[in-house]
């Protein structure tokens, strides 16, 4: 009977139900957006790493995030290649600070990330890169990320433009995607990279300093012992990381050190609190309107446990009513933001489950606050 009463209380007025549901939808969509942005931030920051064709990775031991230039000597990569169990060791060069790209369509200038590697090496797992990378052996050629932001200018292969003041030709596309710090990506050969970013005053080649060392090992089962062995052999100016560690390293920066991760985390909490307040207001008003009826129930012998369970059921029903349309709306918004902003807004199964649980908790918490009004009702007052 408590389920029936809860259901009827909620659905008695269609207009009121629509208003109540829209309040929950607003709060849930707000949380979906905040968590979606946060996840997009974290996922997109490690997207490039996920396409590296390695089991172990070398980075400077003082590096604190991928985006910052903090290279280590190339000889460490050569050293690693000599360690038994390491089958391949490839250097990957990255430039984000000095790379200025001229939009080939509008001629405006923008910062861009340039990834340099030997086109004979299989540094990336992306098939489209593998198919085209040998074209990069031609000097002053680049592959352009077709998921770069629109203002980068996604020109077709064969288009010529400028990169850091040097004439360059787009010879193909690949798909990687922008993130919160990078608007677009280019891939080029190590030789073109050297020509583009060589410091005229420096005594050494730009290629003598590597951003990431990509290592392949012969036995994937022995990664951890090999990691220890490599760390011991290479010294402390480089850190040897497994893929999960490498990704966690970057995620940790955005989650803990960067204010951006905190802001979206806070946004989620604010969404939850707003949801609790909206839901509380809805339930409180609904229960207050029926106080004489609840007092009557108490007068005829229903105990507080019944009333608590009834409000709990009503809260849970409200959470379901609100969650279903909120999920649909969030799905559309995720799609829209992915297209418009180039962010990878993924509506994963785990996110759907987590958000449903958060919505139920939000409504049940509100219900447990609102029910106090009913519990404090004096049955003698109905006289």
């Amino acid at each position: 009977m408590r389920v029936l009463l809860a259901w009827r209380n909620l659905t008695a007025s269609k207009k009121r139900l629509a208003i109540s549901t829209s309040g929950i939808v607003f709060a849930v969509v707000l949380m979906f957006m905040q968590i979606g942005f946060r996840n997009a931030l974290l996922d997109s920051s490690v997207e490039m790493m996920s396409y590296l064709n390695g089991n172990l990775f070398l980075i400077s031991s003082t590096k604190y995030r991928l985006l910052t230039n903090d290279p280590f000597p190339l000889r460490r990569v050569h050293q690693a290649r000599g360690i038994p169990g390491v089958t391949e060791a490839w250097p990957l060069y990255i430039e984000t600070e000095a790379a200025v790209w001229k939009n080939p369509l509008e001629r405006s200038s923008h910062a861009i990330r340039v990834l340099g590697f030997d086109p004979n090496d299989e540094v990336f797992t992306l098939p489209v890169v593998r198919d085209q990378q040998r074209v990069l052996l031609r000097p002053d050629t680049v592959l352009l990320d077709d998921r770069s932001r629109d203002f980068v200018g996604i020109a077709p292969p064969g288009t010529k433009t400028e990169l850091t003041g040097r004439s360059i030709e787009i010879v193909g596309h690949f798909t990687l995607g922008a993130d919160f710090a990078v608007d677009g990506n280019l891939m080029t050969s190590d030789r073109t990279f050297e020509r583009l970013f060589r410091n005229a005053h420096a005594m050494t080649s730009r290629l003598a300093l590597v951003e990431i060392g990509v290592l392949r090992v012969s036995d994937a089962e022995r990664i951890v012992p090999l990691q220890t062995e490599l760390q011991k052999a290479l010294g402390h100016d480089v850190a040897v990381l497994t893929r999960p560690e490498f990704m966690a390293f970057e995620r940790r920066y955005w989650e803990k050190a960067s204010p951006v991760g905190f802001v979206f985390g806070l946004g989620t909490v604010v969404g939850f609190v707003v949801g609790v307040m909206i839901c509380y207001q809805i339930l409180f008003t609904d229960l207050s309107d029926q106080l004489p009826q609840f007092a009557t129930l108490k007068a005829i012998g229903y105990d507080n446990g019944f009333l608590r369970r009834m409000v709990l059921v009503q809260s849970m029903l409200l959470s379901i009513f609100g969650y279903v349309p909120a999920l649909g709306l969030s799905f559309l918004l995720y799609k829209l933001i992915s297209v418009l902003a180039g962010l990878q807004m993924r509506l994963s199964g785990s996110l759907i489950v987590v958000m449903f649980c958060l919505t139920v908790v939000m409504c049940v918490l509100s219900g447990s606050l609102a029910v106090r009004k009913v519990l404090s009702t004096d049955p003698a007052e109905v006289f």
């Binding site: 009977m1 009827r8 029926q290 009557t296 007068a299 005829i300 004096d378 003698a380 006289f383």
Partner: protein
């Protein structure tokens, strides 16, 4: 405050005779009640005595503020008794906790002036709310509710919601609700 009693028993004289305490449904002796605390404490019942036997119909009259409602809420186990004896259905209510008072209330039928029916439930469901409390079997309960509502002239409106009923019809539904417990005592205000 005046109390008028009548009996539905074959021999009305029985009601007027002094009954043994264990025969009484309501036996109130020297009941005092106060509202407020400290300097604001005000006595509203003064050494009240009331005895109601089985089958008796009791009508209580008196000016506003004379304590009719307070006495009824005490007899109905809606409030805790403070001083004196308040024995209902053979059980002394003075000193009982909220849970025990709740148990006593389940044996009492209430009809409230404002009906207090749930607008979202039909007449049938409102009555069912009361009957379910007493663990009646679902099939018997359904038959019983329909029977009582039909006898009260609501046979055509069993599945109507309160706002679709007239004031009198609502009052009859509320009356049926009070019978849901097949009560030993019925309070009506």
């Amino acid at each position: 405050m005046n109390v008028v009693t009548s009996s539905s028993q074959p021999n009305p004289g029985v009601a007027k005779a002094v009954k043994a305490a264990d025969e009484l449904v309501v036996n109130v002796q020297g009941l005092n009640h106060y509202f407020g605390e400290g300097e604001n404490r005000k006595q509203v019942l003064f050494n009240n005595t009331l005895q109601v036997g089985p089958g008796e119909l009791v009508i209580m009259t008196g000016p506003s503020g004379s304590g009719k409602t307070t006495l009824l809420t005490l007899v109905g186990a809606l409030r805790s008794s403070q001083e004196g004896s308040n024995c209902v259905l053979g059980k002394e209510l003075k000193g009982l906790g909220a849970k025990q008072l709740n148990e006593v209330r389940r044996q009492i039928g209430f009809i409230f002036q404002m009906h207090n029916l749930f607008d979202s439930l039909t007449a049938f469901e409102n009555v069912k709310m009361s009957m379910e409390l007493h663990g009646h079997k679902s099939r018997d309960m359904r038959r019983e509710i329909i029977k009582i509502l039909s006898r009260l002239g609501l046979g055509e409106r069993i599945y109507y919601k309160p706002r679709q009923l007239s004031g009198g019809q609502r009052q009859r539904v509320a009356f049926t609700t009070s019978l849901g417990s097949f009560p030993a005592v019925s309070d009506s205000v």
